[in-house]
Amino acid sequence: MTAPADARRALARLLTQIENGDARAQAPVAAAHRAAGRAHVIGITGAPGTGKSTLVSALARAWRATGATVAILSIDPSSPLTGGAILGDRIRMRELSGDEGVFIRSMAGRGAQGGIAAAAADACAVLDAHGFDIVLVETIGAGQSETEVARLAHTVVLVEAPGMGDDVQAIKAGIVEIADIIVVNKSDRPGAEQTASALRAALDLAPRSQGHHGAEIAGKPETRGATGPDDWAVLVLQTTATQSEGISALLERIGAHRIWLAAGAQGAQRQARRSRDEIVFRLRELLFRRALARLAEGELEALAARVAACELSAAEAAQMIAER
């Protein structure tokens, strides 16, 4: 029998190979995608400083209390200048260490072309196939990562904090629209109620194209915005992760979303859309890498010089490469 430490070490090594785009990962990753599908993959996203890591830690402990095993994938940006990164999310997850039912892995973004999104999807599949009941993916909600997390996760939790530029930020398109659950964390701070109200108002202003957008009215959740019995209502919940307050309600809501995904036609549609988006994304990556591989040494620089000298448009240069 394999000792648990050996299994975890093998898992950690496979995750490294995935991150590095190592060819040795291909077969085990393909096998993992076939064996996956049992875990609930939850994306936790939001601006820096909203307390995502602390919330993830509190959620993980709550799941552990139910007996579920938890894997955490924590993604932080790389420095665009040096390619280095400081990955410090474990600092806020120290209460989880020593528990063999928890596995934490930090990943650096490695720049826009580092393919971290593909790596993260493969990493989720591997963690799922390894047998974790819950896979939590923590990402910074900036740039394109918010749409990536929607493709990656079954359930997306958007984390906000009081006083984070309330009204304007809340109405911003993109990030609010992909959220299945919105959390105002640090709710022991002044202004938490106002932030929650502003977010609820923003949800009313920006209904989802799929029509499953709702907001909580005091004591009567799921009545606003949800137009049919099959609709998912996006609730704004309040938590104080440092005191584990509001965590059980959040856990319950995340569980409810999973049931919604599995039960109704809309849930099935949502899953199908995720899979389609993932194929499109992989296709784009693949074609992009193929095109780059056809470039001769220094050719990109030569084209760039012509574009800079206004002899050629960037679109024409791209077409020349693509039609090679």
């Binding site: 790389s78 280095g84 260490s97």
Partner: protein
Amino acid sequence: MQRPLRILIGKPGLDGHDRGAKVIARALRDAGMEVIYTGLRQTPEMIAEAALQEDVDAIGLSILSGAHGSLLPRVIALLREKGMGDVPVFAGGIIPDEDVTALKAAGIAEVFGPGSSLQEIVEFVRAHTTLRGAAAQ
């Protein structure tokens, strides 16, 4: 393409001063490495398990409390138990010269005292992890 090195920086023991550890973490990041910083008051068990999960190429431990004589060899022992005895571990902080020999005998690859330059540490990490990476390929 060369992959970024992954380095764990941790602070075993009970002293609450992590400025040195943070300076090292930053220098390694600026040298293009991915630094997993685990924060204060880590037990040897926490450090070894984090190193395993993160599959790091090297481990740097900062210790100012004077407990290096017991904590650092314990980290090495746990890493060996987990099959990670090949991961180089270096230490920094306040460690008297007379203790360095014993720590090296226990498996600590290098000890950097207060006078060490950041460049020295970055170069040490590069040199030792390249060797390991080559052996692993």
